[in-house]
């Protein structure tokens, strides 16, 4: 089996005509055929479309007209991203035969960049509520150990990237659905600033918390993917109209001079993380210090405060969207989705107003805490992936999430791998920044990844 490339590596080879887009697509299609029966990362493989895209990319390559670093790169989309003429199900019986007529804004952007679309990836039902075994397709499995969970909801993207089925893919993050699977599958995933990437054409879960974003093997690859994903979209009222930064501008510049805060209480007292997770974060902080960054501790409100606000708004917004089907087709949803979203029935009007007031205070708190900081460090997940058959039904409510604070505030945050735990599965940390400072997050994440050995190790099943 050929080495799995990163997007940056593949782009250099494609530029130099040392790699054929068609051969690259075929090698990934072969890997999908070999591994996906164990992983269930794909809900649909679009082989014909992939080869059409790859041939077009090859024609541009031979004509010296490559569109950029993503031209010819094999990707796939989470199955809540609308794809024109291609089934988009949200991993739900309710949309089992749904075929959109238009691409999502972000899908069209990646297609314009020359990506080669290999198919549609597993999610949790409507991006909320897995792992479910009572929906039409099985949940994705973790490539590091297929008895284990991927986290979610961008579960198929996490599994597919880690196993090298694709070089990058789309995710969406309402409470951690990019950063969670990125962490448990040992890859990189960024939730950009709210409004940076358009939500139009993506099946929503909760409008005020939903963030589209990319997932890939490295932070550098995420930067390349995000670059081609963003831009002002008049069809998304939250889409920002501002110049787009160069997300790769800081790569290779190290971390000297960066001011880094550590929200230690999140992962030591609010929701104690595993020893391996904490050791990974401490080692990363040592690295940042050694490389010239200033590191100090920061205290915020308890993670449970952020979690309560985010969860209440998420469930209520989701119910608002799903109410007609929840009333008429309750049992067509999987148990996890329907029972979680039904909780919105217990929320009053004043509860929502109080959550909104508190959200504003939490945003102000985080803004103040970051006034003289560039990055906040915390955990992404508590530890290694649990077994997929032992995830409690209410798991995402019982303990406060490390990722939800940045959905509540809309600040950007990236998860990157910091090593492996006792079970041999990945652990991770989360770097968050001020709004629209994605280049700084990529800069720090890239510095860490290139100095550490973790990007050299792939799941054993890849071969």
């Amino acid at each position: 089996m050929a080495e799995i490339l990163t997007i940056a590596q593949a782009a250099r080879l494609l530029d130099g005509r040392k790699l054929s887009p068609v051969e690259l697509a075929n090698s990934h299609l072969e890997r999908i055929r070999r591994l996906d029966p164990q992983l269930h990362a794909f809900l649909l493989v679009t082989e014909e479309r992939a080869l059409t895209d790859a041939k077009a990319a090859e024609a541009r390559q031979m004509a010296g007209a490559r569109r950029g670093p993503l031209d010819g790169i094999p990707i796939a989309h989470k199955d809540i991203y609308n794809t024109a003429g291609i089934r988009t199900t949200a991993h739900s019986r309710l949309l089992e035969h749904n075929v959109p007529t238009r691409d999502a804004y972000t899908v069209a952007k990646w297609a314009d960049a020359g990506t080669v679309m290999l198919g549609k990836l597993a999610t949790h039902e409507f991006a909320f509520g897995g792992p479910s075994f009572d929906v039409p397709w099985p949940p994705a499995r973790n490539p590091w150990n297929t008895d284990h969970f991927t986290a979610g909801s961008s579960s198929g993207t996490g599994a597919a990237v880690a196993a090298g089925l694709v070089l990058g893919g789309t995710g969406s993050d309402t409470g951690g659905s990019i950063r969670g699977p990125a962490a448990l599958c040992g890859i990189a995933g960024i939730k950009p600033t709210y409004g940076l990437a358009s939500r139009s054409g993506i099946l929503p879960l909760a409008f005020s918390l939903d963030h589209p974003g990319p997932m890939a093997w490295t932070a550098e690859d995420c930067a390349l993917l995000l670059q081609a994903m963003v831009g002002h979209d008049t069809e998304d009222p939250a889409s920002v109209d501002r110049p787009v930064a160069d997300f790769t501008a800081g790569l290779g510049h190290g971390v000297k001079g960066l001011r880094i805060g550590v929200v230690r209480h999140f992962f030591e007292t609010d929701h104690p993380a595993s020893a391996a997770t904490r050791a990974g974060i401490d080692a990363a902080l040592d690295f940042f210090r050694k490389e010239g960054a200033e590191v100090r501790e920061v205290a915020l409100s308890p993670a449970a405060d952020y979690h309560a606000v985010g969860y209440l708004l998420m469930v209520t917004e989701a119910f608002t969207l799903h109410a007609p089907w929840m009333r008429d087709r309750f049992m067509d949803y999987g148990e996890l989705f329907r029972d979680r979203v039904a909780l919105a029935a217990t929320v009053s009007g004043p509860d929502i107003i109080q959550a909104t007031r508190r959200r504003r205070l939490l945003c102000a708190e985080m803004t103040a805490a970051m006034a003289d900081l560039d990055i906040l460090v915390s955990a992404s997940q508590q530890g290694e992936a649990p077994r997929i058959d032992s995830v409690p039904k209410w798991a995402n409510m019982e303990k406060p999430s490390f990722t939800m604070p940045f959905n509540v505030t809309g600040f950007p945050a990236i998860s990157i791998c910091t090593g492996f735990g006792e079970g041999g599965l990945p652990v991770a940390m989360q770097l968050a920044g001020k709004p629209f400072t994605e280049p700084t997050l990529f800069r720090a994440a890239h510095a860490y990844e290139t100095a550490m050995p973790w990007r050299k190790r792939r799941p054993a099943l890849v071969g």
């Binding site: 449970a304 405060d305 979690h307 309560a308 606000v309 969860y311 209440l312 469930v315 119910f319 109410a323 929840m326 009333r327 309750f330 148990e335 029972d339 979680r340 039904a342 909780l343 919105a344 029935a345 217990t346 929320v347 004043p350 509860d351 107003i353 109080q354 959550a355 909104t356 007031r357 508190r358 504003r360 205070l361 039904k393 209410w394 409510m397 019982e398």
Partner: protein
């Protein structure tokens, strides 16, 4: 009754008011989550200073 607690009867009534006519068994399936969720609602409703207002704003100049 404290807002931090909820029983099956109350939950069933709330679900019904929201238009969800669930069977007793379906209500029971939601119940453990409702108890956890109640604690979240309680946390969100901890007293706030008046200066936390306004809760919601809008712009009259919509683009």
């Amino acid at each position: 009754m404290s807002r931090a607690t909820i029983d099956e009867q109350e939950l069933g009534q709330m679900l019904e008011r929201a238009g969800l006519a669930l069977t007793p068994e379906q209500v029971r399936a939601v119940m453990p989550g409702a108890e956890i969720f109640r604690r979240m609602i309680e946390r969100v409703n901890a007293p706030l200073p008046r200066e936390a207002e306004p809760a919601l704003t809008f712009s009259a100049e919509q683009d």
